[in-house]
Each structure stands twice: as structure tokens, then as C-alpha cells.
């Protein structure tokens, strides 16, 4: 039961492995910069992620465990990360 999902659609408790970072069909500078910044913060293909916490308003932002560090992100940015879900919420 391996299923891919945008990280922005994951719910609290979901766990998985990052399979893709960045929106490769969009080529503008803003998207490219977002991809580089995500990579620098540890969101790389193969990293394990777990959604730990959700904010009160619109379940936003989200707190994640990425390998062994914790990172906060808005769902808007999380949309450019695709994960293979191992444990659904």
C-alpha cells in the first residue's frame, strides 16, 4: 500500500518518504528558489517526514519531523513536496 501524496494534503500523524521536491513543470524563478530553499532545509528526496502538528486556522502552518529535525512550513510551500505515504493519518 504505497501511495503518493502532496505533503500539503497530509494530515496530522501521516508518515512517509519524500519522493520529489519542486514543481518541475513550472520554470519561474520563484518556484526554482523555493525548491532550493526546501533542499537546504533538509527536504530532499529520500528523507523521512512525519506530520507532527497542525495550526488552528485552516490546519496551517504544519510542523514536520524531517529525518531527525523539526521544521515548520505553510501548506502552500508543502504543496511542492511529494511524499510516498507509509502511515496515513
Amino acid at each position: 500500500m504505497s501511495d503518493t501524496l502532496k505533503l500539503s494534503e497530509a494530515r496530522k500523524g501521516a508518515r512517509g518518504v519524500i519522493v520529489r521536491v519542486g514543481c518541475h513543470h513550472r520554470e519561474d524563478e520563484h518556484t526554482a528558489e523555493l525548491e532550493r530553499r526546501l533542499l537546504e532545509l533538509g527536504f530532499v528526496e529520500g528523507a523521512r517526514v512525519e506530520l507532527l502538528h497542525e495550526g488552528l486556522f485552516g490546519r496551517n502552518p504544519i510542523a514536520l519531523k524531517v529525518d531527525d529535525m523539526r521544521v515548520a512550513l505553510r501548506r502552500h510551500e508543502a504543496a511542492s513536496i511529494t511524499v510516498r505515504v507509509e502511515v496515513a493519518a
Partner: protein, 622 residues
């Protein structure tokens, strides 16, 4: 050649939260110099170590994940390392600082730093925590993989400091003629390559902890709870406010008392005249106007430093991101705005934590709208004069309610202005919100106190340098020229301040201000609370600051209710604080934004006072 006499320069580089500043403090102790980099507003922290007759200079560079800079702070780090910074000699040695318990990202940064081609050493900091959790690092292997000498350190316990200094010296001495750095901004594929390499080194050299830290996860389940987290945050803020106001008042009163006594002493020792006036009314009260804020600022910074060191600040930004986002502000704008409730000066200075320039400018522009403590004396005076001391709705005190309303007005106006700035001027893409949330740590008492002392020193130096000269200018405006022989009215009426007040009177008549009020606003530009003393001067109430009761009665007799309310409305918005304006000029590095602030705040003040006055008159308060 000149290597013998020249000191070795080492730059500390690392991720945020790696304990870099603690290590810097452990290395250099009190031998620190805090200034700004030429032309930018990034804080430049340099310290010195004397070691066997030689001097080592240590530069603490802002924390970063990458040399690809995205904030002014990170640009400084990049340019300092690459030797591109005007007026800076490039460092001889780079000391990479890593949190030993959180190596993955810093390994990638180190691989990037190696491309620069300068001698490097790696300090594995917080090594005690790594050992406690049973994390095993194969130091020899890691040294070989990275090609960089490694020293383990515990900055808070001053462990490994001598070894680090020795390693830096050795690296500097053995340095082959510096290979010209060949760093170019990496693209996504290059970043992936370096990240994969870092991951390989991680797997080869680091065995995961046997007893991983579960405390952070457990604490987060309370502190980041969607509802509970906000409740706790409100409680923390409430305690902080109580502390700022309750604890600081006695100290501030003490400082004021001391300076008043000093003023009286000097006045007794020096004959009446210009010198006495300059020293007592200009210098001593100028110094006083800076010093009285010190207790509040110290308490505020104590909380900020404690919360920061504990790791809570990133959580607060997380919890508040959406709420601030409604106004178009970044989650991190919370700290500067909160600080501005004590004083806009540290608030504006605290905006440095915001990466994006536009987010930062928006925050700076609205920070002075938050109700700072200097407004309190003015609010207290006008409320005492015009708002009856009675109970409404069975439990609430009307005066207290008005005071609360003024605070709310400050917050609402700050958020509204930020919203308008976003919608009207900067409709660009929203800056992404992404940040590491560090593991919780018990703050180290010594380092907290040290940082507090450093903050106090910076505040006094900077604020003093700006505020003092301005106080002298305001003093001169309110003193010269002297009243003619046999004058009966208060001296200020004949001064430049009096002339300015009279000249501006027609402009202020539509909002219900009389000329005495306008005269008081001139020295009131020095700092908001100075207007209280100035009103005392024009209405010839001696010692107005301690005798507010008398002054309030006088004002109630001279002003209509509508005028009093208009004056309150004016003070919500008016930028009556040259010190804040000076700091804004410094922090934005341009006079333009200072003038934008002056224009929009005076504009809002005028409109608010006008509306308040007209409505109050229409309702019979004229």
C-alpha cells in the same frame, strides 16, 4: 612577511541554533566589540583572544544554512567568507560550528564552504548532549571524510575551547597560500548532490542515538497544540507584560529619583544661567530620558533571551503565523511588535530576525503604532483629567477601560496599516514561512546574563548616541531666545518652541488643539512623555511630572472634553519620538523610510484627532 605581527582572523560559521554565539562568548568572554558592517545594518560581532602573546580576532557571522544568501544577515556571512565585504579583510580560518546532535544540514554547508578554499576547522558543539543521548560519532572517520580537523566543544561549560584555539592556530600556520575561492551559487541539482554526499557521510560516521531526545516531542504536544498552544502563549505574554510593567516601575522610579536629585545638586552647585540650564534641563534630563527605559528593556530582553534560548520563539512564530498573516505580516514579526509595547526602539532593532526585506520594512513601519510605555504618562494624565473615575457594567473601571481601549487601538491600527501596505504597495508573492524548530534546551544562566548585559550596553550606546544630541536640540528650541525683561508669561512662550507653536496653531485649530498644546508638542518630539512636563511648563504647573493631579485639574479647566479626547487620538498615531525615528533611519539605512513613517503617522494622527474632535463636539462634548 607580515604574518608575524598580523593577528590570525577566524570567522565562526554555522546553522542557526548551533550554539555558535555561546561558543563565541566562551572564546572571547567580555572582549567583544559590537558594531555594524559598513553600509548595512547587520550587527558585526568581533571578539579577541590573547594566546601566547598573539592576538586572535574572532568574527561571529550570522547563522545560515547556505552561502546562497536570502537575508541581509546571510549576505554578510557569504560576503565575509568570500572576502567581498567592503572594508573587511577575509578571514584566515573558517571555524564551522555544528550542533553535534543535528549534523545533516551543517555537513552540507561544510561541503559548500570547502569549495571556498580557505583553511577550516570544525567545532562539534553540544557534544555533551550528543554523548548523553548515546549518539556515536566516528570522529577520525568524519575528519577523514571532510578533510577538516575536528574539535569537540561544550560552549556552555567552556570545554574544548583551548583545543579549538590551538586547532585554529595550527590551521592558520599550516595554511598553504590561499587557493582562490571558486564559489558560485549552486542550482537545485548541485544542492541535491551535496545533500546526498552529506547523507552518505552521516551514514558512515554517525550512529543514531540510543536514547533519543523525546522531551522536545512531548513538550511540543502541549506547546504546539492548536488551542492549548495559543492559550499557553497568551499566558506567557501576560506574565511578560506584568513583569515589564510591575517589576520595572520601581527601578525606573529609582533612576528618575536619582537623576532628579543629581539635577538638584548640580543646580545648587552651578549659578543660574545658560550652563545650569544646559546641564540640568538638557544633559541630565536627556540622559534620564534614555535611562528610565533601561529597566523595561532589560526585563523585556530577559524574557526574549530566555524564550529564545529555550527554543520557544520558533514555536510562537508557528502559532501566530496565520493570525499575523491576516495582516500580511510574517509569523516572526510577532517579537518586534511585542517588544514595541515596551519601547519601539528595541522593537525596531528586533526586526532583524525577519529575512525578507519587505516583510521587515512593513514591520518596522507599523511597530511604533504599538502602545509603547512612553505613551502611558500622557494617557494617564489625559484620562485622569477627562474620564470620570466610575464603575461601568457593574465591574469595570471606566478609566481602566479607556486605557485598555487605547492599547487595543494601537494593535488594531498597527495590523490595519500593515494590511494596507501589503494590499496597496507590495502585492508580490507571499514570502514563504519555513524554519527549523530547535530542540528544547534549558537556558544557561551565565550566557543569559551575559547576553542581557550585552543588549543593555548596545541599547545605551546606540540610543544614547541618537537621543542625547536630539534632547539638546529640543532643549535649545524651548530655551532660546530668552524672554524679554519683565515678561510675565512662562519663558517657553518666547522661545523658538513658542514661536513654532504659535505659527502652527491655525493648522491645529480644526482638531481642537489650542496654542499651548501645540507648544507642548514641540519638546514632546524628543519623547512622548516629555509633553507632560511641557504642558506643565506652559500652564505654569511646577514639577508637573510628579504633580499630575494638579496638572490634570488645570487641563480639565482649560480644555473641552472633545479637545482632551482629540489629544488622546493624536497620541495613538503621532510619531512623537525622534529616537525611534533615528533608529528607523539607521535600521532601514535610508532617510526615505523615516520620512514615509513621519508622513503617514502624522497624517493618521491628524485624521484621527480631527474625527474624534468633530464627533465629540457634535455629541455635545465641545
Amino acid at each position: 612577511m607580515d604574518m608575524q605581527v598580523r593577528s590570525v582572523r577566524v570567522a565562526l560559521v554555522g546553522n542557526p541554533n548551533s550554539g555558535k554565539t555561546a561558543l563565541f562568548n566562551a572564546l572571547t568572554g567580555a572582549h567583544q566589540k559590537v558594531a555594524n558592517y559598513a553600509g548595512v545594518t547587520v550587527e558585526r560581532k568581533e571578539g579577541f583572544i590573547r594566546n601566547a602573546g598573539r592576538t586572535l580576532s574572532v568574527l561571529d557571522l550570522p547563522g545560515t544554512y547556505s552561502l546562497r544568501a536570502r537575508s541581509p544577515d546571510e549576505e554578510v556571512t557569504r560576503d565575509a567568507i568570500l572576502g567581498r565585504l567592503a572594508g573587511e579583510t577575509p578571514p584566515d580560518v573558517i571555524a564551522a560550528v555544528a550542533d553535534a546532535t543535528n549534523l545533516r544540514l551543517v555537513l552540507r554547508l561544510i561541503l559548500e564552504l570547502k569549495a571556498v578554499g580557505r583553511p577550516m576547522v570544525l567545532a562539534l558543539n553540544m557534544y555533551d548532549i550528543a554523548q548523553r543521548t548515546g549518539l556515536r560519532i566516528d570522529l577520525d572517520r568524519l575528519e577523514a571524510e571532510l578533510g577538516v580537523p575536528i574539535v569537540t566543544t561544550v560552549a556552555t561549560r567552556k570545554r574544548g575551547i583551548e583545543e579549538l584555539v590551538a586547532a585554529v592556530e595550527a590551521a592558520a600556520a599550516s595554511a598553504a597560500p590561499a587557493v582562490a575561492g571558486s564559489w558560485t551559487p549552486p542550482d537545485a541539482e548541485a544542492l541535491r548532490g551535496k545533500a546526498a554526499e552529506a547523507e552518505r557521510i552521516m551514514k558512515a560516521c554517525v550512529r543514531p542515538p540510543e536514547r533519543p531526545d523525546t522531551l522536545t516531542g512531548r513538550v511540543d504536544s502541549f506547546l504546539l497544540h492548536p488551542v492549548g498552544g495559543l492559550v499557553i502563549l497568551s499566558a506567557v505574554m501576560f506574565v511578560m507584560f506584568q513583569a515589564v510593567f510591575a517589576w520595572a516601575t520601581p527601578a525606573a522610579d529609582g533612576i528618575e529619583g536619582l537623576l532628579t536629585a543629581l539635577g538638584a545638586m548640580v543646580a545648587g552647585a552651578i549659578p543660574d544661567g545658560i550652563w545650569q540650564s544646559l546641564i540640568v534641563d538638557g544633559l541630565i534630563s536627556g540622559v534620564g530620558s534614555v535611562l528610565v527605559f533601561l529597566p523595561q528593556i532589560l526585563i523585556l530582553f530577559l524574557f526574549i533571551i530566555l524564550l529564545e534560548d529555550f527554543g520557544y520563539m520558533a514555536r510562537a512564530a508557528f502559532l501566530l503565523d496565520r493570525i499575523m498573516g491576516v495582516a500580511g505580516l510574517h509569523g516572526r514579526a510577532f517579537i518586534p511588535l511585542l517588544s514595541s509595547v515596551a519601547c519601539a526602539i528595541p522593537g525596531v532593532m528586533a526586526t532583524r530576525v525577519i529575512d525578507n526585506r519587505r516583510d521587515r520594512l512593513t514591520t518596522i513601519l507599523v511597530a511604533p503604532l504599538m502602545t509603547c510605555s512612553a505613551r502611558i504618562p500622557v494617557y494617564t494624565l489625559i484620562i485622569a483629567a477627562f474620564i470620570p473615575n466610575q464603575t461601568v457594567w457593574g465591574f469595570a473601571n471606566l478609566q481602566g477601560l479607556v486605557m485598555f481601549g487605547l492599547y487595543v487601538a494601537g494593535v488594531v491600527s498597527a495590523l490595519s496599516v500593515a494590511f494596507v501596505i501589503r494590499k496597496l504597495f507590495w502585492r508580490s508573492a507571499v514570502e514563504p514561512f519555513m524554519m527549523e524548530m530547535p530542540a528544547y534546551k534549558m537556558p544557561d544562566l551565565k550566557s543569559v546574563l551575559f547576553n542581557l548585559w550585552l543588549r543593555a550596553r548596545i541599547f545605551l550606546e546606540r540610543a544614547g548616541r541618537i537621543i542625547l544630541p536630539l534632547m539638546i536640540v529640543v532643549w535649545a528650541l524651548s530655551t532660546f531666545p530668552y524672554p524679554p525683561e519683565g515678561a510675565t508669561a512662562p519663558a517657553i512662550e518666547y522661545s523658538f518652541a513658542g514661536m513654532i507653536g504659535r505659527a502652527l496653531e491655525p493648522l491645529f485649530a480644526p482638531i481642537g488643539f489650542n496654542w499651548q498644546m501645540v507648544v507642548a508638542l514641540v519638546p514632546g518630539m524628543a519623547a512622548r512623555e516629555v509633553a507632560v512636563a511641557a504642558l506643565g511648563t506652559v500652564y505654569a504647573v511646577a514639577d508637573a511630572e510628579s504633580a499630575t493631579g494638579v496638572l490634570a485639574t488645570t487641563l480639565a479647566a482649560h480644555w473641552s472634553l472633545a479637545t482632551g479626547l482629540a489629544f488622546l487620538a493624536w497620541y495613538i498615531f503621532a510619531p512623537q519620538c525622534v529616537a525611534t525615528l533615528g533608529v528607523v533611519r539607521r535600521e532601514t539605512n535610508s532617510a526615505k523610510w523615516m520620512w514615509v513613517m513621519i508622513a503617514y503617522m502624522f497624517g493618521l494622527a491628524y485624521l484621527a484627532a480631527f474625527a474624534t474632535y468633530r464627533v465629540a463636539v457634535a455629541l455635545g462634548g465641545g
